[in-house]
Amino acid sequence: MIRAVIVMNTQGKPRLAKFYDYQPVEKQQELIRSVFAALSNRAENVSNFMEAESIFGPDSRLVYKHYATLYFVFVFDSSENELAMLDLIQVFVETLDKCFRNVCELDIVFNYSKMQSILDEIIFGGQVLETSSVEVMKAIEEISKLEAASNAISLIPYASGWSRR
């Protein structure tokens, strides 16, 4: 099972953190910090694997990919295949790319909710839900339509309240 998905920038600021086993918020931050400390020590052109048991406890593995200013990190246990997880990161990033047309860090910062929704269409409760970025996009577009529809309806009577804020 996949235990956590962390997206952070190369300064260690988290952009997305999802833990599939409940972790208290302090613990989450501590884990993110430890992962960053270990990642920032790694050179370019090395493998995408990193020892994770010292951070996440026994039977945990970690793969990551480094894109421009972002690290994408997946933590999972031995029931998953490492390279397949690496492929999944690629699917996640490719989907983001399709969604934002050449995704950059800023897209991700301001579309935090969007990124969450995309991730939720790829990983569900720690298991791989969908591996085809085409299918993920379909699901996301559906959600967007629904959101747009519901926003349009609800915004009309409250337009004044909205601008006041």
Partner: protein, 1015 residues
């Protein structure tokens, strides 16, 4: 692409980004949280859209690392959310909650309505919410509805794949609640699915189901192979599921994973088809330029390799796999190098291929210098795993060489592994000593005490090695700067054995003393006592005495007589007094006796560290196949052809925890009464490590004490081990009254029953009747005077171990003739431990003072209550306790051979109930019980014993419970029961029954007596 424009959220994020520092950020966050709270409070004005927006803000704040109090108001306003944005918000808000949050309980009904409703969007949101939590109450009330969604033909794939994973999540977290009976047929049908998305999710579900119980799912096996064939031939795979030209690598990988849970594939046709697919994967995968394609194709390839290994394919295919791996560990692509090494380590399990793997040793050693630490670690693991007698020398020397240049992060592991390999596979012992000394020299900071303790044990136990070790130690002392651990070990070795070198240049006692004493200013307090012992020993070995040296050393002792550290002070005072005894000194400071053989703490430690079970068992396997010279020598060669004197063995055992509860508790007891500080006993916690740690502590103790104990013991008539402790005042009249029957045997019998005789001699009989309820017990002592005259000065003192609370009612001072008094004793079990309470009992009969320290049968199994479990209850528990420290496994040797029936009876009499029929193998036993203590409450313990019908003297035992200490203690307890042989009097926890009552003759000038007096 247009986004769900939550402008408020964007503004907030932008505000946060504009904060100059953490302080500003916190202020902004606090302001926002306050705002959210007020808005939710006045719920009337809140639109569904706003609710969603605020939940997203909270999520964002949560991700930034602030505690977001998801309060009552928010909860209430989201429970019955009828609109889409609210439902979305409700689903997302669950990320911030743990599964016991009230909100979830309250929301169950509305969530259920969404799941059974017709709106697919709502179904998806509800499933996501349930899947993120996976809580027990969700499982109880929602699992059947989710199951229906999964198999419903009217649902879209989008909903069904979520239903599959939702079910999987509920099942993983609450296997006992989700009923999967009869699911085999449905799973078989699900595997006919054409939609690859649904199929992938269903396959994940299947993996979870077969990993728990493959028996029920045999019918799925051919379907899995069919799916693999379909993918391998790229039949009917839509474009969107082709990833870099490879038909859904995830599905291929998952399917192969599912197949690995079936022990064998019997049907020849299925097997043939599968091997065709695997062969195609093995042959048809090349390293190409595109990294993503490479990753995907090799994901499949490595999974195929695992499957081939699992199926234990024909030799030809295996060597093909090893050849592939050999190729991989040399390629440029680092990911593949990494996995190549990792899979080679796994492959070590298959014994046949070891020789082929050895051919790649040079390449693996090169990987030890890889720029990537992840790869270096895997290389280290592999080298460690593939090491055996034939290549140990090369590998260990390579590791030592690497040690000086390796990362700090790896040094500790590296030195530990080098030490273990050196110990296990040493071609000769002098090499072993060389390796350890080099290790201390190069990485002293990373060498734990266990490592040097161990080398001392080996040297002590092997006379041939002693001059060599002393010489080596002497050489290291010449180095300008040496690590403190090196000072310790060389001082110890030279103290014991430098006299063997006396004729060599630079090795006269004086020179040795000077070179060691040079180091004294540089060492820390714990090392100084070792140095003092060394000086005392040097002094003793200086023959003829050298007055100048003597004065020097005495001056040092005098100097430390006022040291603030109690240990140093005590030694200084003792050695000063002792060293004026002249020739008698030689008896007191004689060489340390040999150590009893026991499992290396190092190896135990390493086993704890290792989590890769495959690798671990490969090592174990190897260690069993080839016992290294090191072990052979120490294990089986009696020193000087005669068995070691019992007393010396006992002496060392006093402070070892190895199944020696008797001594430990006595020590502890003595500690309480006399207030004497004895280093070893206060630490007799259950940690494994102490087993070896404590041995060397005995070394560190004043050597004089050692000898005195021996003479007391060998001269005295000691019915219980207690007197072996030096702390017992020597002027006590030892008992001249003989006990009737074997005390140890009586104790062991009482461990298994609740009433009987604990002790008997010609004057008194002590009986016991006990009644145990959960963690409490009431034990009545029956003190019966067998004579016609009264027993006077009767005293009974309970020395409870730390884990028991005991209260003994008043014991009368006099027992009238032919009378029996009852003394109830209340016992409360605080926590699991094998430590045993001791009854310190004495009385006077005529002029005879009789004193006995008797172990009380308030042992761990008394706090067990047998419980019979059914398969449905047992297996989920068994699986949920995975791996150390909650689940421990050990191969026990030297078991007294028993037929299976009797073994089962033994367990039942220990209150561990055998559950027949749970284990399909008739040679295995599965048993369960409940343990009660104050700290653990009622705790279920599960035991599995695997016996070998061909060799009844060994078995494999697995013990599991929810508490690591309990697991360990119970395991050790059962082991003691299995190994204990009541017929023989030399069981591990007994002193031989004294055959000849012999009054101890201790001449007034006996050094032992003097020393004991000193103490």
């Amino acid at each position: 692409m247009a986004l769900s424009g939550m402008r408020g959220l964007s503004v907030f994020i932008s505000d946060i980004r504009n904060c100059q520092n953490k302080e500003q950020e916190r202020l902004r966050v606090d302001k926002e949280l306050g705002n959210v709270r007020t808005r939710f409070k006045n719920e009337k004005g809140l639109t569904p859209y706003e609710k969603k927006k605020y939940v997203w803000k909270m999520l964002y704040i949560y991700m930034l690392g602030y505690d977001v109090d998801f309060g009552h108001m928010e909860t209430v306003s989201l429970i019955s959310a009828p609109k889409y944005p609210e439902k979305q918000a409700r689903s997302y808000s669950t990320c911030m909650l743990n599964e016991n949050h009230d909100f979830l309980r309250l929301a169950i009904n509305t969530v259920r309505n969404d799941i059974i409703g017709r709106n697919e969007t709502f179904q998806c949101l509800a499933l996501t919410m349930v899947g993120n939590i996976g809580g027990r109450e969700f499982a109880e009330s929602l699992a059947p509805d989710v199951q229906k969604l999964l198999i419903s033909s009217s649902c879209r794939p989008l909903v069904r794949k979520k239903a599959a994973l939702c079910l999987l999540r509920l099942y993983r977290k609450n296997a006992d609640v989700v009923n999967v009976d009869g699911w085999a047929d449905r799973m078989t049908q699900l595997l006919d699915e054409r939609d690859l998305g649904v199929l992938t999710s269903s396959m994940s579900l299947l993996v979870a189901l077969v990993s728990n119980n493959h028996e029920a799912y045999w019918s799925c096996l051919p379907k899995c192979v069919k799916i693999l064939e379909r993918l391998a031939r790229n039949q009917d795979v839509p474009q969107e599921y082709t990833y870099y030209g490879i038909p859904s690598p995830w599905l291929q990988v998952k399917t192969m994973r599912a197949l690995q849970y079936f022990p064998v594939i019997e049907d020849p046709n299925t097997r043939r088809s599968l091997f065709e697919v695997l062969q195609r994967v093995l042959v048809g995968t090349d390293v190409v330029k595109n990294v993503n394609k490479n990753n995907a194709s090799h994901a499949v390839l490595f999974e195929a390799l695992s499957l081939v290994m699992h199926l234990d394919a024909e030799k030809e295919m295996m060597s093909q796999c090893v050849a592939l791996l050999g190729k991989f560990i040399a390629v440029r692509e680092p990911n593949i190098r990494y996995l190549g090494l990792e899979n080679m380590t796994r492959m070590l399990m298959v014994t046949d291929v070891q020789e082929i793997i050895k051919k790649h040793q040079a390449q693996i050693i090169t990987s030890l210098k890889d720029p990537d630490i992840s790869i270096r670690r895997r290389a280290l693991d592999l080298l460690y795993g593939m090491c055996d007698v034939s290549n140990a020398k090369d590998i260990v020397e390579e590791l030592l060489q690497y040690l000086s240049t390796s990362d700090f992060a790896m040094r500790e592991e590296l030195s530990l592994k080098a030490a273990i390999l050196a110990e296990k596979f040493a071609p000769d012992l002098s090499w072993y000593v060389d390796v350890i000394l080099q290790l201390i020299d190069k990485a002293g900071d990373f060498v734990s005490d266990d490592i040097w303790f161990r080398v001392v044990q080996f040297v002590t136990n092997n006379e041939d090695l002693q001059p060599y070790a002393a010489l080596k130690a002497r050489e290291y002392l010449d180095k300008p700067a040496i690590h403190e651990t090196m000072v310790k070990v060389s001082a110890y070795l030279l103290g014991e054995y430098s006299h063997l070198l006396a004729r060599r240049p630079g090795c006269s006692p004086k020179e040795i003393f000077i070179i060691i004493h040079e180091k004294l200013p540089t060492v820390s307090t714990p090392t100084i006592p070792i140095l003092l012992s060394t000086y005392a020993k040097i002094l003793m070995h200086t023959q003829p005495p050298d007055p100048e040296l003597q004065n020097q050393i005495l001056a040092i002792f005098q100097k430390y007589e006022s040291c603030i550290d109690a240990e140093i002070q005590q030694r200084a005072v003792e050695y000063f007094t002792l060293s004026r005894k002249g020739p008698a000194l030689a008896d007191i400071l004689a060489e340390m006796p040999k150590f009893p053989e026991r499992q290396s703490a190092l190896i135990k430690k390493a086993e704890d560290i290792e989590t890769d079970t495959a690798e671990q068992s490969a090592i174990k396997l190897r260690a069993q196949q080839q016992i290294s010279n090191a072990l052979v020598v120490t294990d089986y060669r009696p020193p000087n052809g005669t068995p070691p004197p019992v007393s010396s063995l006992n002496l060392v055992k006093v402070s070892s925890t190895s199944s020696n509860s008797d001594y430990n508790s006595v020590d502890q007891g003595a500690d309480h009464t006399n207030g004497t500080v004895s280093k070893s006993d206060s630490q007799t916690a259950s940690a494994d490590l102490l087993g070896d740690l404590l041995g060397p502590l005995a070394i560190e103790g004043p050597p004089g004490a050692a000898t005195s104990e021996q003479s007391v013991l060998s001269g005295g008539d000691v019915p219980s081990a207690a007197d072996a402790a030096a702390i017992v005042p020597v002027q006590d009249q030892p008992n001249s009254v003989q006990p009737i029957g074997n005390i140890a045997e009586r104790f062991h019998a009482l461990c298994l029953k609740d009433s009987g005789v604990l002790y008997e001699d010609p004057y008194i009989q002590i009986g016991i009747k006990a009644d145990w309820r959960a963690h409490q017990g009431r034990l009545v002592l029956f003190l019966g005077n067998k004579n016609t005259s009264p027993l006077v000065s009767v005293q009974a003192l309970i020395l409870p171990p730390l884990n028991l609370k005991m209260e003994l009612s008043l014991v009368p001072d006099t027992i009238p003739p032919r009378a029996q008094v009852q003394c109830p004793l209340e016992i409360i079990n605080l926590r699991p431990s094998r430590d045993v309470a001791v009854l310190d009992f004495s009385y006077k009969f005529g002029t005879n003072v009789v004193n006995n320290k008797l172990r009380l049968p308030a042992v761990i199994n008394k706090f067990l209550q047998p419980i019979q479990l059914s398969a449905e209850e047992f297996f989920p528990q068994w699986r949920s306790l995975s791996g150390p420290p909650l689940k421990l496994q050990e191969v026990v040797r030297g078991v007294r051979p028993l037929p299976l029936m009797e073994l089962a009876n033994l367990f039942n009499s220990c209150r561990v109930m055998v559950c027949p029929g749970l284990d399909p193998n008739p040679n295995n036993l599965v048993a369960s019980t409940t343990f009660y203590s104050e700290s653990t409450r009622a705790m279920l313990c599960l035991v599995r014993i695997e016996t070998d019908p061909a060799d009844r003297t060994q078995l494999r035992m697995t013990v599991a419970s929810g508490d690591p200490t309990l697991t360990f203690e119970l395991k050790e307890f059962i082991k003691e029961q299995l190994v204990y042989i009541p017929e023989a009097s030399h069981g591990p926890t007994q002193v031989p029954a004294p055959a000849v009552p012999q009054a101890p003759v201790i001449p007034p000038d006996d050094p032992a007596a003097i020393l004991a007096g000193l103490l």
